[in-house]
Symmetry: D2
C-alpha cells in the first residue's frame, strides 16, 4: 500500500537504520516505556519528516509500540533505501526520491485520508492542509506535535487568527529540542555538509550568517571553531547586539555579502537572501540555506537571472548571473544538511525524537482534554528526556537540598548581607 | 543630610564618575530623553546598588533629569570617594565603607522614610523591607524595578504568595540586561578579579562553575577562552546537558571539587558550595562567588571549621580547615567582581542602567495603572535600548520587508516545497 | 602506457580537476612562472601522492610547464576517474583502485625505471626504493622533495646514517607547508571525514588525540571548536605541557582510552595506538588515523583479535574483540582524510603544491650543486608563496622601514629605557 | 650596600614573595638540586629583571644555593617592598621606584663593578654595557643567559658582527620559556592589565595586535576568548598567513588603526606603532605595548603632538593630539603587564625562572668550555623542566617503546603500505 521507489533496497536501508538505533539510547528507553504502557497501541500516527535513517528509527519505535504509522516526505529529502526498509517493517510510506510536486501533494492527502489520531508534523504541512483542504481529517485528530521553528510560528499565527481547531504541541520549543537540535545539530551538520560538498577550506574565510536564532548561533559557533571570521545579519536589534558581544561583525545582508566567502541563511523568512544582496557577492561565493523554508535564498531569482546554470560538483550548482557574479548554490536552497548531507547527528535526533514520541504519547492520552490551540510541551517531559540522556552518558548531577528549596521560597528571610 | 565617610574625597570620585560617563553613550542619550520629557522631574527615587563610578553616573543621570535621588549601599560595596562626589552633586547618600550591619539597616530605613515614588532595587532589599517593616512606604510607591536574578526570583515568590502590593518590573529579565550584564559582564569581570587578586594562571587549570545560568555560561566561556578546563555542576538537567554539549565536564559539586583549582558559584542559592564539598578540595584551591547572595559559599562553615584564618594577599583569605585542606577565599564570599574588583565593565552597565532608568521612567508614568505584581519590561524599551546601542557602535541592521512581514502572517500560503 | 582502471571516466575526473584548479590561485600563478622560465621543460618528474583532484592539478601544472610526468599512487588513495583524466591529459599514470600490493610495488619500479630527474615523494617511498633496490635510478636524479613529516624523518635518519646519496628538500618543513597543511588542512579534513562517515555528534564527546605535533594541534583545535572535550597523549614532555596550557587533558594513551569516544592518532609512529590501549576502550569507540603511516593504529592486532569483523557503514568497520570491546575503525587505519574523505581542502593544497612545484623547480635548476643530504627549502620560496597567497586574498601587509631595519641591527644603541 | 627606597617595607614584601614561592613548585625542586650540588655556591650572580615577587623568589633561590646575588631593575618596574625584602634576605639590590635614568645607569655599573661570574640578563642590558663601557667585567664572566626575544635578537646581531666575547645562552628560545611565558603568560597578563586599568569591556570590541610572534599569538587567543574581533598586522608574510588561518583579519597597521578600539604592540621593533597610524585612530582608542622595547609605540611622538596630556585613571594617560584624536596610553608605553600590572602569572615564571637558574648553573659549570657566542639551552634542561612541571601537576605521559624507537631509526623497513 506504500508508494516507494525500490523495495529491493530494504536490506541496506535496514542496516542504516540499525546504525541509527544503536546511537539512540534515549529513544530506545522511551520505546521500552511506550511498549509497556501501550499508550500508542493501535493508534494511527501520521508522520511528515525528512526520510532518513534517524526518522526511520522514530517510525520503527512507534510501530514497535503498536502504532499504525503512515509516513510521507518530499522527494528531495527521501532516501529510497530507508523508505524500502520501513515499508518492509510494516510502516506505510509515501515517499519516493523521484516524486513530482503533484505526487507530494497527493501523498499528504493519502496520509490525511487515513484519519490519523496523532500527527508528527514538519513545517505544519499536514496541519495546514487539514485545515485548508481536508477538514474531514480534523474530526479524529487528537492533536499534532510540530518539529520546526517555522512550523511553530505558523501555528502561532493560526492560533492568533482563531483558525487552529486541534491541540498542537510546540515540540520545537522544548528545551531538549531547540537547544540541541537547532544549535548543536545544525551547527555541525550544516558546516559538515558544506565542507563535504565543496572540499573548500573554512579557516580564514568570511562566513555571513543571516539570522542569529538558535540555528544561527550554532552555525556561528562552529564556523568560528573552524577558523572562520563570522558576520551576522539580523533584524532583531537585541539578537544583533548579542552577536556583536559574541565577537562577530554585524552588518546588513547586502553590505555583508560584499565580503563573504560563504552565505548561510537561518531565518525562517522568505527571501532572507534577496537578489539585491546576491548581486553584490564576490564571484564564487557559496550560498546555502540552513533554515526551514526553501525560499530563504531567492532561488527563483537566481534561476531567472542566470545566463548559465551548471552542476559543478554533486549538490553544487553554479549560477552565472547576467547582472552579477557567478555564485554557487548548495543543495538547491533547501535545508542543506538534509539536501546535501545526512541531516543532524544521530545523538541530537535521539533527543528530538524522544521529545516527539513523548509529545505524541501525551496527545494520545490527553489530547481530548487539551483544547484547540498551541500548547507548550509539559516541562516534566523535557526534564525526563534530559535526565534519561544524562543517565545514558553516565553523568550524575546534584539535587537542590530541602534547605535550599525552603530558602528559595522564603522571601522574608532572604538577605544579601 | 547624607551619611558618607569623607567628603574631601569628592574630587577623585568625580573623576572616576567622569570616566564612566564617557563610556556610557547609551545612558547619555537616555538622559537627554528624560531631561526633555521631564518624566522624572521632582520625583523621589530610591536606589540600592553597589556604589561605584557606574552606579554613580546612573544617580547623576536621574538627578540631571530633576529627580530627588536617595541612594544606599552596604559597606563592602561602597567606594567612599564616589559617595563623596555624589553627595557634592546633590544626591542623598547613605553609604560608608565602615558602616556596621546595624548602620546598613538604618540606611534602608532612611531611604524608605523619605517615601520614594520609584525604587531601583537590588536583591529586592528595599521592597522586602517595605513589605515587612516599613509598610508606610508602600503608599506613595508607584513601583520598583529589580536589578538581579535573585531579586526577581524573590519577587516572583512574593507575587505567588499574594504578598506583593506594588508593581515591580523584572528589569533583570530584560534581554538587554541579563543577556549582556549576567553573561559578558560577569564573564569578564569575575575572571579579571580572580587573575588580579591572585596573579595565578588560568590556562591549564581546572575551573569548577557551580550553576549554568546566564552568569555561569559567561564564566565558562571566558574561563575556556583563557585556556581552562571547565567542569559545570547544575541541578537542572537540561542546563547540565547544555553545558555538556558546550564541551564542559559535568559532575556533582562534591565530585568536581576534588579536581578543581578554582571553584566559582553562580546559582543564586544558599550554600551552593557546602562544607562537604569544600572538604574534598585540593589544598590551595581558590573559591569565589559570582552570584547575588553572599552565602552561596558556606562562609560561616569556613569560619567555624578553620584553625587558622589569615589574609595572604589583599582580598584573599586562607582558611586552614581542621578536617580538610587549606583553601583560599576571594572577596569574602560576596560577589567577587565587586568585592574584589571594580564590577562589570562600563559598557555593560551602560545597557543595564539605561534599562533601569527607562524602567523607572515607565513606573513614574504608568505605575499607577499597572497594578501590584511582577511585570516584564515592555519589549519596546528593550528594543529601543538595543537600537541606541547599535547606533553608538555605528552598526546598521536590516528591517523585515513588508513582503516578509506579510508572508510570516500568511499561514495559508506558507510552503516548504 | 599508463595503467589505469577505466579510461572512460576521464570526463567526470576532468571536471573534478577543474574545480580544484579554480580554487588554486597560487598554483596557477606558479604555473605561469614555470611556463615562462621553462625550468621544468623536458624534465622527467616522478610523483608519488594520493591521487585525487588536487594532486592531479599539480601534475597538470607540471605537464603544462613542459615536464614529462610519471605518477603513481597506492590503491586505497586512488580515484579512478581522476587517473583517467590525467592519462588523457598526457600524464603517465600507474594507479588503480583495484591494484594489489604487488602491483603497487611494480608501479614504483615503473616510475624509477624511467629515471626521473626530479621526484616529488610521499613518505620517502621512491627515494628509499631507489636506494635499496633501484640504485640505477640515482644516477640521473637531481633530487627529491618530500611531502610528509614521516618522510622527512626517514630521510633525516638516512642522512645521519650516511646513506642518502641525492639532495632532498624537506618540503614538509617549509612554513607554508606544515603550518597550514598539517594544522588547518588535517584539522578540517579529518574531523569532516569522521562526521561524514559516522553521522555522529562531536559536541559533548571525549576526543583522544595521540600526538600533539602540527597535525595533532590542528585536530585538537577543530575538535574543541566543534564542542568536544580533548585529551592529548604525548611522549614529548614539552608538547604535553603545551597541550595542557591549551586547555586539554593530558594522559597516557591507555588511561585516556577508557574515557574516549573517539581516538585519533597523529604521531608518525608505529603502533601509537596499541592493542593494550584499545582493549581498555569503551564499546563503540571510533578509531581513526590522521598520521602518515598506516600502522599507527595496530590494525593487524585488531584483525587478529576480533571474533567478528563487519562493515557497519561505508568506510566504517566494526571489530568485536574476543578479549575486549567492539570498536569501530574508520578508513582502514590509513590516513582517514584520504581513505574516507577527499583529503585536505583545496586552498591548503594550493599552498603545499606551490611549495612542491617550486621545490622541484629548485632541484631541476640547482640540484647538481646541492650535494647529497637533506636540505631545507630556501626561505625565499616560502616567503614568495606566502606573498602570492596574500595577494590572491587581496590582503596587504607592512614592510619594515629602513629605520626599523637599521635599529634592529644596531645593538650598540638599543635600549629598553 | 643595597640602594633601595624604604627598608621598612620588608615585611609586606616578604609576604608577597612567599605567595610566589608557594606557587612555584618547579623552581623549589630546582632549588633542592642546586643546593645539593653546590654548583652556584660562592658564585657572584648578576641579575637584571623586573623586580616583583616572582623575580625576588628567583633571587632567593640563587641565594639559598649559596650564590652572591646582585640585582638591579629600572624604576618603572621596581616594587619597593619587594626590594626591601630581598635586601633583608641578603641580596644586594640596586633598585628604587624613584630612581632617575642616571641612577639606573649607575646601578648597571655597580653590578658590573662587582665582576659577576654569571649574568641573568634582560634585553641584553648588562652584556651590551659590559661590551661597550665596562669591558673589565668581561674577564671574570663565565657567561650570561638572556630572558627576552628582543635581547636574544640583539645578541644574535652582536655575534654575527663578531662582537660577542662571552658565551650567552638564549634562554628565551628554550621551549619551556617562549612557548609558555611569551604566549600564555603575556596572553593573560596583558589583557588582564588592560581590563583592570580601564574597566572597559573586551567583548565585541576590535583589537589590533601588531606582531604575530609568540606574544602576539597569545594576545590574539585571549582577546578572542574574551569576545573581541582581532586584526593582526605583520611584516612576515607567513606569520600574516597564519593569523589569517587562525580567523583573524589581516591589515597594515595604519589601515587597521581606523577600526581599532585597542591597539597592542608585540613586535620587538622600534615604532611598530608610528604617529601616522596613531593619527588615524578613533577617539578614545586604548594603546598599550606588550613587547620588550619601550619605544614600540611612538611615545615621543605622542608627547610632541599632544595639546593636552592628562592622567584619566591610574596608569592611563590621555594624549589629545593637535592633528588627530585623543588617545589613551596605558602604562606609559612600557611592557604593560609589568608597568600597569603584576607581570606574568606565577606558574609561568616558575617555568621561565627554572630555565634561567639551570642556564645559570650550566654557565657556572660549563661556561669556560663553551666559547664566546650565542648558544641554545641544552635540550636536556628544557625536557627536565617540562618533566618536573608535569610531575607537579600529577600528570603522567607515555614513553616511546624500544620497538617504536627502533622502527623510527629503521628507514629500510618503513612502509606506508
Amino acid at each position: 500500500m506504500s508508494d516507494i521507489r525500490d523495495p529491493t533496497l530494504a536490506g541496506p536501508g535496514a542496516r542504516r537504520i540499525e546504525w541509527a538505533a544503536e546511537h539512540a539510547p534515549v529513544l530506545r528507553r522511551v520505546r521500552e516505556r511506550i511498549v509497556d504502557d501501550a499508550s500508542l497501541r493501535g493508534r494511527l500516527v501520521g508522520v511528515v519528516l525528512a526520510l532518513e535513517p534517524k526518522t526511520a528509527f522514530l517510525a520503527c519505535v512507534l510501530a514497535d509500540a503498536g502504532a499504525d504509522v503512515v509516513l510521507t516526505c518530499n522527494a528531495a529529502m527521501t532516501n529510497d533505501d530507508v523508505a524500502a526498509a520501513l515499508d518492509e517493517r510494516g510502516v506505510t510510506v509515501f515517499a519516493r526520491s523521484d516524486a513530482s510536486p503533484d505526487d507530494e501533494q497527493q501523498y499528504y492527502a493519502e496520509v490525511l485520508a487515513r484519519h490519523p489520531e496523532v500527527v508528527i508534523d514538519d513545517m505544519a504541512e499536514l496541519i495546514r492542509l487539514a485545515h485548508l483542504e481536508h477538514s474531514h481529517a480534523l474530526a479524529d485528530l487528537r492533536g499534532a506535535t510540530e518539529e520546526t521553528t517555522s512550523g511553530v510560528s505558523l501555528l502561532r499565527t493560526m492560533a492568533s487568527d482563531g483558525a487552529l481547531r486541534v491541540p498542537c504541541i510546540a515540540a520545537n520549543d522544548a528545551r531538549c529540542k531547540h537547544l540541541f537540535d537547532n544549535k548543536y545539530g545544525s551547527g555541525q551538520s550544516v558546516l559538515s555538509a558544506l565542507m563535504d560538498t565543496t572540499n573548500l577550506l573554512i579557516a580564514g574565510t568570511a562566513v555571513l550568517i543571516v539570522g542569529y536564532g538558535w540555528v544561527g548561533r550554532g552555525l556561528a559557533r562552529v564556523a568560528r571553531g573552524l577558523g572562520a571570521r563570522v558576520t551576522v545579519a539580523e533584524v532583531d536589534p537585541v539578537a544583533a547586539l548579542e552577536a556583536h558581544h559574541d565577537g562577530h561583525e554585524i552588518a546588513t545582508v547586502s553590505d555583508a555579502c560584499e565580503r563573504a566567502d560563504w552565505v548561510i541563511t537561518a531565518t525562517g523568512c522568505r527571501r532572507a537572501l534577496p537578489m539585491r544582496a546576491i548581486g553584490r557577492c564576490k564571484p564564487g561565493v557559496v550560498l546555502a540555506n540552513a533554515g526551514g523554508p526553501s525560499d530563504e535564498i531567492d532561488v527563483d531569482g537566481l534561476r531567472a537571472g542566470a545566463t548559465v546554470i551548471r552542476e559543478v560538483r554533486p549538490h553544487v550548482v553554479e549560477y552565472a548571473l547576467t547582472d552579477g557574479p557567478a555564485v554557487l548554490l548548495v543543495g538547491d536552497g533547501r535545508c542543506v544538511n538534509l539536501s546535501a548531507g545526512e541531516g543532524h547527528p544521530i545523538e541530537i535526533m535521539d533527543l528530538t525524537f524522544s521529545i516527539q514520541v513523548l509529545a505524541a504519547r501525551h496527545l494520545a492520552l490527553h489530547g481530548a482534554e487539551m483544547g484547540p490551540g498551541l500548547h507548550p510541551l509539559p516541562t516534566e517531559i523535557d526534564d525526563a528526556v534530559a535526565r534519561e540522556k544524562l543517565a545514558t552518558l553516565g553523568v550524575e548531577i546534584d539535587e537542590l537540598t530541602p534547605d535550599q528549596r525552603a530558602a528559595a521560597a522564603d522571601w522574608q528571610r532572604a538577605s544579601s548581607a
